[in-house]
């Protein structure tokens, strides 16, 4: 079987979170709290050039006058930003490991438990992995092989040192530094994440992926990812996320920027399975993420696919700014909330260029006491002649203690454009369940089967190896919700 | 009646008709057969004046240069296209549409426009001949019509507007044998020494019911062979392979 299975395998045993273990290692932490000193400290740890530090400090200054947004549906207790750690790194990584084999065996074991072998001889075939542990990238596989064809795949920290011209040109060019509170916070204190550059005309021969792991307690993870697809190139990128079970809520505020130049295509897939909290709603990750792609060149394409099953609160809108003529944006999403989980997710499709196209397929499943909101914007600007959008939002409710909501914003300012939006809400019918059970499936298998059918259009978008496992994850996430 | 010379048509720089020549005399029935993608539908649209094609060449119709006329002017000159997929228009009622259409054509030809009562008399009679229920006339245009109903509605319009040149685009597609008979009878009853037909079809089936005087084979935007109706039978036996390089 495929290696991708390993990647997502063992997510849960029964309905318990299988990735809830803690790795016991020595770490270097900064004192709690957000301050200029912390920003200096992070920059120094990363051995960043001066311009990068200045950029962070500018963001820090801007942050002082900004407020957290509060328009989202899921409300959460006020976060005390002075009570968080902004940097945590395994001590063993103070001096960069020379090769993958030098990585601290404890960390290596962690990734092995998660199904991601980092050792050279065990690497996943056909998938290059950047593994991020709390605030640092611990390893990037297949680097040399990618280098041969000019593809740069490394941690963002390394990129600021090794490829400053690219980072300076593109960092913050899609998500402006002071876009909103969390984006600005991230700009000031981001720790690690991946950097990808695909040179003109290159079709990246393997899936690139980043695996994020939050380990330390009371630590915010502020990942930053930047992907640039130069003219006529193609890349498929996948991220996965897990965290230990802890009673307190942990903040994950990432910024992801994608840039597609003329005729380039980026496919970005996410399988998000952060710790969702326990059955009573205690603990879990606050997943407040800003993801935005710019189709800057003509005929460029950015496609977001997300399977969101974890986190206590998910609040994210992977978006596309369709600047280039004939560019295309896609958003495929499955968001599953169970127990007390809350999700407010969707996308923004901003049509600026001529004949731009966008497609939104969103499937929300809500069970237990959970709340699931699709929120999306389709905006067609006056110059976007011939633009087209199609949106389909479907919600599935399991039980009557949960909520499913659809809040689309549609702004059409060009008379030659077309926008189509459809939304439905339904439940798993007793007839469907009975039919499956009559054919010998048990309750949970039946639910899993029906829900997977409901999500099929989205799951099909995932790279094949992951699609199979994502299907299993969909079933597991809903365990215990029917019956 | 109609004389087509070196007709070329392209969409987005893709040439579909590549120098087509065809002459149809008064009262003649011609059939054009061809494989998918040979340009059959494009020909029907170019003849009836659909916008969006880059057209060159010549089409003489009753001494007029057809290419200078827009869609409605051609309709008023007597060109009628029976659509392969008649368009559904919600909110526009069939009888209203038919009267507006008939009166536009009558007006352009210097005839008196019909009032609602006279129109109703005519339309009821014609509908009956084609086995079209009156309730169908009260429904929005083609909305919720079955495939057969849509095609019969096309023939009804044809008999109402009394065109001199009829282009039928794959009229047989999606029809069962009974509907095909009704439609063919409708067409045959409209055959007239003053009226010409161009029947565009993929299959020979329709030509069993409406016998053409000439059969042409269209391939890659050109007419590659012309014969009498026996050519259609050959094609049914041997397929289009012999004409495709």
């Amino acid at each position: 079987m495929s290696n991708g299975q390993e990647f997502i395998k063992n997510y849960k045993q029964g309905s318990d979170y299988a990735h809830g273990f803690v790795t016991d290692i020595e770490t270097i932490d900064v004192p709690k709290g957000l301050s200029k000193e912390v920003v200096h400290f992070i920059s120094k740890q990363k051995k960043e050039p001066q311009w990068m530090l200045n950029w962070r400090l500018k963001a820090f200054d801007r942050l002082q006058s900004m407020k957290e947004p509060d328009w989202q549906k899921p409300k959460y207790p006020k976060i005390n930003y002075q009570d968080l750690y902004y940097y945590s790194a395994p001590k063993s990584l103070t001096d960069q490991p020379k090769s993958l084999d030098d990585i601290d065996p404890e960390i290596r074991k962690t990734y092995e438990k998660l199904g991601i072998p980092l050792l050279e001889q065990k690497k996943l075939a056909g998938i290059a992995v950047d593994a991020v542990f709390d605030s640092v990238s611990v390893a990037t596989t297949f680097k040399d092989k990618l280098n041969e064809i000019g593809v740069i795949f490394c941690s963002i920290s390394e990129a600021t040192r090794e490829h400053p011209e690219l980072v300076q040109k593109y960092l913050g060019s899609v998500i402006p530094m002071s876009d909103h509170f969390f984006a600005t916070l991230n700009s000031a204190v981001f720790t690690d994440g991946s950097f990808v550059y695909i040179p003109p005309g290159v079709r990246c021969p393997m899936e690139l992926s980043t695996y994020f792991r939050i380990n330390a307690s009371n630590t915010g993870q502020f990942e930053r990812t930047l992907i640039i697809a130069d003219k006529g190139s193609y890349v498929s990128y996948l991220e996965g996320c897990t965290a230990p079970m802890r009673d307190e809520n942990q903040l994950h505020a990432a910024n992801v920027e994608l840039v597609a130049l003329d005729d380039a295509e980026i496919k970005y897939s996410t399988v998000q399975n952060w710790y969702p909290g326990d059955k009573e709603g205690n603990g879990g990750i606050y997943n407040f993420v800003t993801k935005r792609g710019a189709c800057r060149g003509k005929n460029s394409k950015i496609s977001w696919t997300q399977v969101e099953t974890g986190s206590a609160i998910t609040w994210k809108y992977p978006s596309c700014i369709l600047q280039g003529d004939n560019s295309q944006g896609e958003f495929y999403s499955v968001a599953i909330t169970n127990n007390y989980q809350k999700a407010d997710t969707g996308t923004k499709m901003i049509h600026l260029g001529k004949n731009t196209r966008s497609k939104i397929i969103s499937k929300g499943i809500s069970a237990g006491h959970a709340d699931n909101t699709y929120r999306g914007l389709v905006s067609i600007h006056p110059k976007a002649t011939g633009a087209k959008n199609y949106t389909q939002c479907d919600s599935l409710l399991v039980g009557n203690k949960c909520g499913a909501h659809t809040i689309p914003y549609i702004e059409n300012k060009n008379s030659t454009s077309e926008i189509e939006h459809e939304a439905t809400t339904s439940k798993i019918s007793d007839d469907q369940l009975f039919y499956c059970r009559q054919r010998g499936l048990n309750q949970e298998e039946s639910v899993s089967l029906i829900v997977n059918g409901f999500c099929k259009e989205v799951l099909q978008q995932l790279p094949m190896e992951f699609a199979v496992e994502a299907q299993k994850l969909v079933g597991i996430s809903l365990e215990g919700s029917v019956g | 009646m109609i004389d087509i010379k070196n007709l070329r048509a392209s969409v987005d720089d893709k040439e579909i008709l590549k120098g087509l020549n065809l002459k149809i005399g008064k009262g003649e029935v011609h059939a054009i057969m061809g494989p998918n993608g040979s340009g059959k539908s494009t020909l029907s649209y170019v003849l009836s004046g659909k916008e969006g094609y880059n057209v060159s060449g010549e089409i003489q119709f009753n001494k007029k240069n057809l290419l200078e006329l827009n869609a409605e002017e051609r309709a008023r000159e007597g060109i009628f296209l029976a659509f392969q997929y008649p368009i559904e228009i919600p909110g526009v009622f069939t009888n209203n549409f038919l009267r507006t259409s008939l009166n536009s054509v009558r007006k352009a030809n210097g005839k008196v426009e019909l009032n609602a009562i006279d129109f109703l008399k005519i339309i009821k009679e014609k509908a009956k001949e084609l086995n079209i229920g009156e309730e169908m006339l009260l429904r929005p245009l083609n909305v919720g019509f079955s495939g057969g109903e849509k095609k019969r509605n096309e023939i009804l319009q044809m008999s109402l507007l009394e065109p001199s040149f009829v282009v039928m685009d794959e009229t047989d597609s999606g029809l069962d044998i009974d509907a095909l008979k009704i439609v063919s009878n409708g067409v045959n009853s409209l055959r007239d020494p003053e009226r010409s037909f161009l029947i565009i079809t993929h299959y020979q089936r329709l030509l069993n019911y409406i016998k053409p005087d000439f059969v042409h084979v269209l391939s890659e935007g050109k007419i590659v062979k012309t014969g009498d109706w026996k050519l259609a039978l050959d094609l049914e036996d041997q397929g289009y392979g012999q004409f495709i390089n």
């Binding site: 006056p382 909520g403 | 916008e51 659509f83 368009i87 909110g91 054509v105």
Partner: protein, 416 residues
């Protein structure tokens, strides 16, 4: 914060001269205080995002509620079918109370207890504070009125006030039936703010059909707020036709409180020039086995803006809800804008809810089909638009009114 001193002075002047009972007075004061605390709405407020009123209300830092004008409706504007009439002429209600076989129509200046809730809506608060005109319609149990009630809102050339407010009640007792037709005629050429609030109560098994015609307003800013409460087995059919309305928000909240009640809400926005019209509609399914349908179509010319914000809310106990919503817009010139926010908020699982929204230009294939039948391009386009809007009029269940609105539609096109 804007300066509301002038409005405060106006309010003080108003309440010293306006006769009302103590409880109502307190409610007016409280509503006014609520208004002042928040001021006119801003677009940051999610409820007022896109609303044309956010800009246009700025013109009314002074509210002159003085009565003026003709106070009479010209005979030529009266409908020529038999009906009961309620006339607002230049903001003043002209009404001879009628007490006719189960129908009461009277002037009413007081609030019903059930509406006296301090609200969040700033303009509704303003209406609560200032509303000095209003009618009350009450239909007795088991009465089906054969004649419709027609409400005329007429603003004459002599109208000088810049502000008028009304609060009205329509009460249908069990198993009663009535048709209410409301039309607004604007002849005045000054800028004024109109706020109106109509509260509708439908008791078990009753049925209200309300048809509104609102057209050709070039100068005023309008806030219409309708709230309806539906009991078991009751039905509300509500249609609004808005044509060339300068600046207006039509807001409705419909509460489906009893089993098997049904709200059928349909609307047309036909706008040209700089018209700016907003429909905000919320349907609350508060009880099981309730049904609702929303069908809204917009045709936009020149630089017109149309906004449709429709929401279906389903409470966790409202199982077996059937909620449907469809909005479609035709964008007919380069500078028009259409905003839609079709929203679903659902807390029950055994429901059937859907919405759809589309916007774009007239279908070219259809235009070609019509032209290939000899119909000119202009006529074809007109037919298409007519048919597009006509689908909404088709939903009207009273033939007399269906014809009135169809006529209105064809008249509109003949003018072009």
């Amino acid at each position: 914060m804007e300066n509301y001193n002038e409005i405060k002075i106006n309010f003080e002047k108003f309440i010293t001269t306006f006769k009302t009972d103590v409880n109502d007075l307190e409610f007016r004061k409280k509503s006014f205080a609520n208004f002042i605390s928040k001021g006119f709405p801003v677009s940051r407020d999610e409820n007022w995002k896109y609303s044309p009123l956010v800009q246009d209300l700025k013109k009314f830092s002074q509210l002159n509620y003085k009565k003026s004008g003709a106070n009479i409706l010209p005979n030529a504007l009266m409908e020529n079918f038999e009906h009961y009439s309620i006339i607002f002429a230049d903001g003043v209600l002209i009404l001879t109370d009628s007490n006719d076989a189960g129908l009461v129509i009277k002037k009413n200046n007081s609030f019903l207890k059930s509406v006296k809730k301090a609200g969040e809506n700033p303009i509704l608060n303003l209406n609560n504070a200032f509303a000095d005109q209003g009618y009350l319609i009450e239909v007795s149990s088991n009465i089906s009125l054969t004649k419709p009630i027609v409400i005329y809102n007429y603003y004459s050339k002599n109208f000088l006030s810049n502000f008028c407010s009304s609060k009205n009640f329509i009460l249908l007792n069990e198993k009663s039936n009535v048709v209410v037709y409301e039309k607004t005629i604007y002849d005045s050429s000054i800028e004024y703010l109109i706020t109106s609030n109509t509260e509708i109560f439908l008791a078990k098994g009753s049925k209200l059909k309300k048809y509104d015609l609102n057209c050709n307003n070039k100068h005023s800013t309008i806030f219409n707020f309708v709230k309806a409460n539906l009991d078991e087995n009751s039905e509300l059919e509500y249609f609004t036709f808005s044509e060339n309305i300068n600046s207006c928000r039509d807001e409705s909240i419909i509460n489906l409180n009893g089993k098997n009640c049904f709200a059928d809400v349909n609307a047309i926005q036909l706008l040209s020039n700089n018209c700016d019209h907003e429909i905000k509609l919320q349907i609350n399914h508060n009880e099981e086995h309730t049904r609702s349908s929303q069908f809204v179509k917009s045709a936009l010319y020149d630089s017109a803006n149309a906004i449709f914000q429709g929401k279906i809310f389903v409470d966790s106990k409202a199982q077996k809800t059937d909620g449907y919503q469809l909005s479609k817009a035709l964008l007919l010139s380069d500078n028009v804008k259409f905003f839609a926010k079709p929203e679903l908020e659902i807390y029950a699982d055994d429901v059937k809810c859907s919405h759809g929204s589309s916007s774009g230009s007239v279908d070219e294939e259809s235009i070609f089909y019509l032209r290939s039948r000899g119909i000119s391009k202009e006529d074809a386009k007109m037919m298409m638009i007519n048919g597009f809007l006509g689908e909404v009029i088709e939903k009207i269940t009273e033939d007399k009114f269906k014809n009135i609105f169809f006529k209105k539609l064809s008249h509109n096109y003949n003018d072009d």
